[in-house]
Point group: C2
Chain length 296, copies 2
């Protein structure tokens, strides 16, 4: 995906959130913001947003001398989401279509994000989840079910902390024994890492691997060779979140993307409004205004 000017205000907002995660000292926060503005002023906008985002967050972590500014936020989101699992698992079991319900919950879980730092307790998470589940869902159900039926190995690319607890519900439905869950190779934003996967118990039901990269998506060239082999060899890949979509859409491999459209840039790329949940393959390129036909 190509950088657009819309990404710039978004990067500035992310830098502010990071600065506030790293320190409560207003002078230090201001220094982070000034540094980010200067860096963005000179940034190479021909890079993809994901590469720029990776560099920005490395820079932010370095300036704050913190390896993981979002550690506390992520732990809180994991704990809150985890508390909701028994109740949601019952809902899935008693629904007419458990797989579809689990897919919807996993997609709706994508709402747990930096924008929602205000989520103070389980009630807030549950409310956000319920609200998200009412948003439009554009899905290639038939292709997804067919692919699930045939796949012996499934690679599941996780996205955020918190959300990863709801991924567990979907993985339980699709059969964890054939699933490998991949998380980021290092902290970036509130993206899930190995410790997040462990704290929601994913390691107990499926294999969990790190992709080797600290990009907030899956830049294959930036990942471990071992991870790339798994990616190419998997019968099916399920990729959560916009970051994974941005980095893997149009790569030809049979990846199913499951995400909430969170920004106007991605919205124009998939031809669906912000807020929509998507389950679909974008095998060829996904140019603005040219979503793959059978997604709609």
């Amino acid at each position: 995906m190509k950088m657009t000017l819309d990404c710039i205000p978004c990067f500035v907002r992310q830098a502010l959130e990071s600065a506030r995660s790293m320190t409560s000292d207003p002078t230090a926060q201001e220094a982070v913001m000034r540094d980010t503005l200067r860096w963005l002023h000179e940034a190479d906008l021909d890079e993809s947003p994901l590469v720029l985002s990776q560099r920005l967050h490395r820079r932010l972590r370095q300036s704050g001398k913190l390896t993981d500014p979002y550690r506390e936020v992520k732990a809180r989101h994991n704990a809150m989401a985890l508390d909701l699992l028994p109740q949601l698992r019952d809902e899935i079991a008693s629904s007419g279509d458990p797989l579809a319900t689990a897919v919807c919950m996993a997609a709706a879980g994508n709402v747990i994000d930096m924008g929602i730092r205000s989520m103070a307790d389980e009630d807030d998470v549950l409310k956000s989840l319920r609200h998200a589940m009412e948003e439009p869902f554009v899905a290639q159900w038939d292709a997804f079910r067919r692919s699930l039926q045939d796949a012996r190995t499934i690679l599941y690319l996780a996205d955020n902390a918190g959300e990863i607890a709801f991924d567990r519900l979907l993985i339980e439905q699709i059969g964890p024994s054939r699933v490998t869950v991949a998380v980021r190779g290092g902290p970036v934003l509130n993206d899930a890492t190995l410790s997040d996967a462990r704290s929601v118990g994913l390691h107990k039901i499926a294999e969990v691997v790190e992709n080797g990269s600290d990009a907030p998506g899956t830049l294959l060239d930036n990942c471990y060779p071992e991870f790339r082999k798994r990616f190419e060899a998997a019968d099916m890949v399920i990729a959560k979140g916009q970051g994974n979509f941005e980095s893997l859409a149009g790569r030809g491999h049979g990846v199913f993307f499951l995400f909430k459209v969170k920004c106007p840039v991605v919205a124009s790329q998939v031809g669906q409004p912000v807020g929509t949940h998507i389950l679909g393959q974008f095998k060829e390129s996904a140019h603005p205004g040219k979503p793959e036909k059978d997604v709609a």
Copy 2:
């Protein structure tokens, strides 16, 4: 009001909106963004957001070589709002409390703003207006009615284009013969200028004056001396919008502020959440978390 770090992403977003209003050439838009980032990197954050905003928008107009980048947007908003007046005027007349209804409409009109460039037709404006009228309204009704009863001269400080048509409905209710409407002295953002006041017919029912400044608020020191005299002499001042609130709150004069809380900085200053409509006086200072007691 003091600048906070939250203002920075907001300025960057405003610059992008301006760049797109000024030119459809992506290279020129990118140049505007890079220039804005460098300027913000060096900006004096001890200035008020309003002064910085005034400077930023001067700079943007200069770089785009346009005196009024928002001319078309403003004309469209005026025309759409104007078309709705007969219908809204009937609603006011048949309501149990025409003054309160007109105040609510004028406050809700504050929703016509740069964030809502997507408002394509009258239906969109009407929908936004209806939606806004359902938001919480925190008002000092008694003080407002008392002040209206006693005032021989009322200075009405307008805010945005489009919105200014709904101001007309309120001015009709409070008696236009004693009202002077003040608009910005020059184009800045989508703020109403003399031509906007004229295009919604305000000059036919009340006196309309320019304040002499191109700040997106009312920086008295920056206004015509003649305007300052009117401000001091008026029995009552009604100030629309956040910009006027930011610049005039706590100045001791009996100003009634009527606005929608649109950003977290102002929200913390008035002690009400984003989205709330406010009608109130903030005679003393309005420090974060210390709203004037009788507003609530």
